[in-house]
């Protein structure tokens, strides 16, 4: 071993000071899973209170704190960092790079996350309680009428934003500069492409979110009136700024999920991805459109009719590139040689349920119909179909798919399949009935409801407990694999898997591609 071929440091300092993309990826993944459990616990409290009509377990004010923290923790703590973790592990290995382009910044962008969330979670114990204004924190409920803990919330958002911006700069720098010779843009695996586009979205919109919370801070502490009509401001301005960030944000969450599925489905279909180029263009089209559709979250604020029409048409257009993606995945499976290991099951689950979420999304884009859907459980059902069955299923698929490469050990396939089926059934029992109660008139973010919604809510709660419990099985399976899983030494691991990461030894050594690999003339994907 030469000077630069050292292994990881020992003890805690390995993790505190590491600049290794694999270590940082691992920390992101564990951190996001911890947040997933925390956010899930909040969800269990919500569903337990909603099990029956009437107030049983918590007070309405605390219920609002739970819905707020559930949303914030899941979006910013669980889903986003989990995909950053995946990017850290996989992008260098997929493009033939030895590490991320900016390893020290990589360390920092992870290590400011735990204090950020500690600050957010600490608000639960403050006087007046945690933020209780929803994860969308509309002013003036989040400014003039908020508990004092809102200031801690604002700084927590700043910290998470800085972390995300640094993470995405790193990803952009890595992809632009560290590709192995011959790895042209149109040869990059789709996961790399989706993250490349996502990183640009993040750099573009996280500062907008930072601006929104800074204006809140000014309104609360320094006497400005950005969001107060009494001082010449406008509460709706907040919503425009928030959703200018918020809509690209939902694609930030879902695009890397598309990337994962585009790796997994070809592998288990033993067939190249259908329409690689159109996948890249569709991803870019979705990203660009995401900047001009934000006000479809605000159809009921009283925009002029011309504005409503513009945002309705622009939003409907998103169905075209999204449809292209779904058709491509299905065509990839068509006449393939399919097998159904756990990663494939989760990817097919993604494909089916995300498509349902896409359909309800199209329904929601129709402005006049949205007057009836807006802020009801129909919306809650819609975004859980795309966030949970979309992003989380895809992430779960990714963990099962690459875990053997990371650890050199195979997970328990039977337990993985059981985890999938319990998740799939639990998820649908939870969220499908929410379409019904939403259409029947149940508003979202209510701690109690009228009697006609009782049966479906009870069903929803039972489904949620089942889905929640199935995640414990996932945790157990992953730990058992790391500790005592059956050893795998085959580089390929999955016979249909394609890409540079599968040319590396299993488990992937601490340092990889110190010498750039040779890229074959034929594209690996497509």
């Amino acid at each position: 071993m030469g000077d630069h071929h050292h292994g990881p440091a020992k003890g805690l300092s390995r993790w505190l000071f590491t600049t290794n993309h694999k270590d940082i990826g691992t920390m992101y993944l564990w951190f996001s899973f911890a947040m997933f459990i925390l956010g899930g616990t909040f969800a269990m409290i919500i569903r337990a209170e909603l099990f029956q009509p009437g107030m049983q377990l918590v007070e309405p004010g605390f219920f609002n704190q739970m819905t707020t923290l559930h949303g914030l923790v899941m979006v910013f703590g669980a889903i986003m960092p989990s995909f950053v973790g995946l990017a850290n592990w996989l992008i260098p290995m997929m493009i033939g790079a030895p590490d991320m382009a900016l390893p020290r910044m990589n360390n920092w962008s992870f290590w400011i996350l735990p204090p950020g969330f500690l600050m957010l979670a600490s608000t639960l114990f403050m006087e007046g309680g945690a933020p209780a204004f929803g994860w969308t924190f509309y002013a003036p409920l989040s400014t003039t009428y908020a508990a004092p803990s809102v200031t801690f919330f604002i700084f927590a958002i700043h910290v998470l934003g800085i972390s995300s911006i640094m993470g995405s700069i790193n990803i952009i720098a890595t992809i632009m500069n560290m590709r192995a010779p011959g790895m042209t843009y149109m040869k990059m695996p789709l996961f790399v492409w989706t993250w490349f586009i996502t990183a640009f979205l993040l750099v573009a919109v996280m500062p907008v979110l930072a601006g929104a919370v800074t204006m809140m801070l000014m309104d609360i502490h320094f006497g400005t009136s950005f969001f107060s009509a009494a001082g010449g401001g406008d509460p709706v301005l907040f919503q425009h700024i928030f959703w200018f960030f918020g809509h690209p944000e939902v694609y930030i969450i879902i695009l890397p999920a598309f990337g994962v599925v585009s790796q997994v489905i070809p592998a288990f279909s033993r067939k190249p991805l259908f329409g690689y180029a159109s996948m890249v263009y569709a991803t870019a089209a979705i990203a660009i459109l995401s900047f001009v559709v934000w006000a479809h979250h605000m159809y009921t604020v009283g925009m002029p009719v011309a504005g409503e029409l513009f945002f309705m048409y622009a939003t409907m257009l998103i169905a075209v590139p999204t449809g292209v993606k779904v058709f491509n995945w299905v065509s990839t499976m068509w006449r393939g040689s399919l097998s159904f290991e756990t990663p494939m099951l989760f990817s097919i689950g993604f494909l089916v349920l995300f498509t349902i979420g896409g359909f309800t999304g199209l329904m929601l884009s129709i402005a006049p119909a949205d007057f009836q859907y807006h802020d009801t459980y129909f919306v809650v059902a819609h975004f859980h179909y795309v966030m949970v069955a979309g992003a989380v299923f895809s992430m779960t698929s990714a963990v099962y798919f690459w875990l053997p490469k990371w650890t050199g050990r195979m997970y328990n396939e039977t337990m993985g399949k059981v985890h999938f089926w319990i998740s799939f059934v639990g998820f649908n029992v939870t969220f499908f009935p929410q379409h019904f109660v939403g259409l029947a008139g149940m508003p979202r973010r209510v701690p109690d409801y009228a009697l006609q919604f009782a049966d479906f809510n009870m069903m929803s709660s039972i489904g949620a407990f089942v889905y929640g419990a199935s995640q414990i099985m996932f945790l157990y399976n992953v730990i058992a694999t790391i500790v005592s899983g059956e050893k795998v030494s085959d580089e390929q691991v999955w016979d249909g898997a394609e890409g540079l990461e599968w040319t590396l030894p299993t488990p992937a050594p601490y340092h990889t591609f110190e010498v750039p690999p040779k890229i074959e003339a034929t594209p690996a994907h497509g």
């Binding site: 067939k271 159109s278 009921t300 309705m312 292209v324 299905v330 019904f436």
Partner: protein, 374 residues
């Protein structure tokens, strides 16, 4: 035979269950009682059916693959990976379908936005956590009132059986005439609320400092219920909307009765009441207006404790100020407009004598009126 018979019985019982359950478990949007509502419903059904047809197609192809193109059946994978023709087709066809959806959506939207020529204007103001209605252009003086949740705390906290319209009942509903274009001018006093009654097809955000417009022309007499649909704080789930749509004659009668009530209230505020009468009235006002924040025993909660409070046991002028003008920057609202002078006198008297605050003070409606004038 007996096994077969019992199976049949069990089967009948089981098949009856979902029917019983479905009667109260609405699964779809209601077309409601307005022309616009019916158009929105048709639009909703159209888009949903198109989505279902596309879904059946896509999932059908996928299912066929899953069943027949299996490695375990020895199916050998083809290696095709693009087809420009197919890819152009599935870009262009969805685009055309979208145009087909956009046409009816646009015409319905334009109708929703046509606020002109309203025959009756009602100002709807969202407050934490109640609605205020004011009839603007009816002949004679404006009529206004607050509409509070009528469901008792005992039902919410499960010590009493829940009524049929649990959480969807108010002390004073909004009354509108049928076959009349009613325009709602919607705003808010504190945070953003949203006024939604599904069956009359109106949902519009109530934004402090701005006035939004929406309209409805109800075809059928009846009682229509809705709720606030924008998170507006702790009791967001407890500010329902109830609309009584009545015949135009009945509406005129109701309007005159409201005006007579208002005159009676003015007259009542000059009459002195006994401590007992004030306490009884005060208790009922306390329960609807104060209890949610200040607790059933005046122990406090979102709001400060009333029991033993320096305000409720101290200077009467300050106590009246807090009740009438509220406390800026807190959840304590100005109740001066929300309560009649009699109600205000009663609840102040109640707070000064209940929960162990036995000050013995009696506040008369005339004291409140006088205090309001300064």
């Amino acid at each position: 035979m007996s096994i077969k018979k019992s199976l049949v019985t069990a089967g009948a019982a089981l098949s009856a269950l979902p029917i019983v359950a479905l009667a109260q478990n609405q699964v779809n949007m209601s077309p409601g009682v307005t022309k616009v509502g019916a158009e929105i419903y048709d639009l909703h059904m159209l888009i949903m059916i198109i989505c279902i047809v596309i879904g059946v197609g896509v999932f059908g192809v996928m299912l066929y693959s899953i069943v027949y193109h299996r490695k375990s059946k020895g199916f050998v994978a083809s290696q095709f990976h693009e087809s420009t023709k197919v890819e152009i087709a599935w870009t262009v066809v969805p685009f055309l379908i979208l145009i087909g959806m956009a046409v009816p959506a646009t015409s319905t939207l334009l109708e929703v936005y046509d606020n002109d020529d309203a025959e009756l204007d009602i100002l709807v103001t969202g407050h934490q956590w109640k609605w205020r209605y004011e009839y603007l252009n009816a002949e004679g003086e404006n009529v206004s009132f607050f509409s509070n949740l009528a469901t008792p705390q005992e039902e919410i906290y499960n010590s009493e059986a829940k009524g049929e319209h649990y959480l969807l009942e108010v002390d004073e509903p909004l009354v509108i005439p049928v076959d009349t274009k009613v325009r709602f001018l919607i705003t808010a006093n504190d945070v953003i609320h949203s006024w939604w009654v599904p069956e009359i097809a109106v949902k519009r955000d109530a934004i402090p400092g701005f006035i939004n417009e929406a309209w409805s022309k109800v075809d059928q007499e009846g009682i229509y219920r809705g709720q606030c649909t924008e998170l507006c704080g702790s009791y967001h789930g407890f500010m329902p909307i109830v609309v009584h749509a009545v015949s135009q004659d009945e509406f005129q009668g109701w309007m005159s009765a409201k005006r007579a009530d208002k005159d009676a209230q003015i007259a009542a505020s000059s009459v002195d009441l006994s401590l007992d009468a004030l306490m009884t009235e005060g208790e009922s006002v306390y329960k609807t207006q104060c209890l949610a924040c200040h607790g059933g025993q005046g122990e406090g909660g979102v709001g400060k404790a009333i029991s033993g409070s320096s305000i409720a046991m101290g200077d009467l002028g300050l106590h009246l100020d807090v009740g009438i003008k509220g406390v800026a920057g807190t959840a304590m609202q100005a109740f001066g407009e929300q309560l009649t002078d009699v109600e205000m006198a009663a609840v102040i008297t109640y707070q000064r004598n209940a929960f162990g605050n036995n000050t013995g003070d009696v506040v008369q409606p005339s004291d409140v009126a006088q205090h309001k004038q300064g």
